[in-house]
Amino acid sequence: SQQGEEDPQALSIQEGENATMNCSYKTSINNLQWYRQNSGRGLVHLILIRSNEREKHSGRLRVTLDTSKKSSSLLITASRAADTASYFCATLEKGGATNKLIFGTGTLLAVQP
């Protein structure tokens, strides 16, 4: 399988705490994206980081990328109950001719009020 892997598979924290989830992938990439999926819904794009970038911020989200280790992390600061969802990383393979993404297996985040 080409799929990446995410760690941990599940994470439970209290409201206000920070949540960190990690993603490992297998090939050289053009970019890496993070998506959120609420229960029973489709995926929603959160943030994209290009292969020549090392860190990116968007509101309470911080993403890092280490291409030498083929890994990325997503940090959600000051978490809220509404952040409860599954989070997926997805990679675009370098040199690919289309916008095909390879998705990780996801991290299920539960934020307790």
Binding site: Q2, Q3, N30, N31, Q33, G40, R41, G42, L43, V44, H45, L48, R50, F88, L92, G96, T98, N99, K100, L101, F103, G104, T105, G106
Partner: protein
């Protein structure tokens, strides 16, 4: 502006029956995709289309066919459903530019059970 709409939302089929899942997008996107999501497996690409009249195989295409007769619609067909095709199916669409850094926009899925 509805985004990506999938119909039906739920369906139960018997082994051997056929059906078509419909995906419609109103964002004028060139690219469209069909994924399946199974527990612990993340999303896996079934088929995709880079424009009207074109289709291509993804990671897990066996047992499925697709058509893109109109730019806004992407149909996924199961000719003879099997229990292994029980899954949640997601459609997505995206713009296309040279550096392929456009996000994909997803529908809310079709939950399909094959008995």
């Amino acid at each position: 502006n509805a985004g990506v709409t999938q119909t039906p939302k739920f369906r139960v089929l018997k082994t051997g029956q056929s059906m078509t899942l419909l995906c419609a997008q109103d964002m004028n996107h060139e690219y469209m995709y069909w994924y399946r999501q199974d527990p612990g497996m993340g999303l896996r690409l079934i088929h995709y289309s880079v424009g009207e009249g074109t289709t291509a195989k993804g990671e897990v295409p066996d047992g499925y066919n697709v058509s893109r007769l109109k730019k806004q619609n992407f149909l996924l067909g199961l000719e003879s459903a099997a229990p292994s095709q029980t899954s949640v199916y997601f459609c997505a669409s995206s713009w296309v530019q040279g550096n392929f850094d456009q996000p994909q926009h997803f529908g809310d899925g079709t939950r399909l059970s094959i008995l």
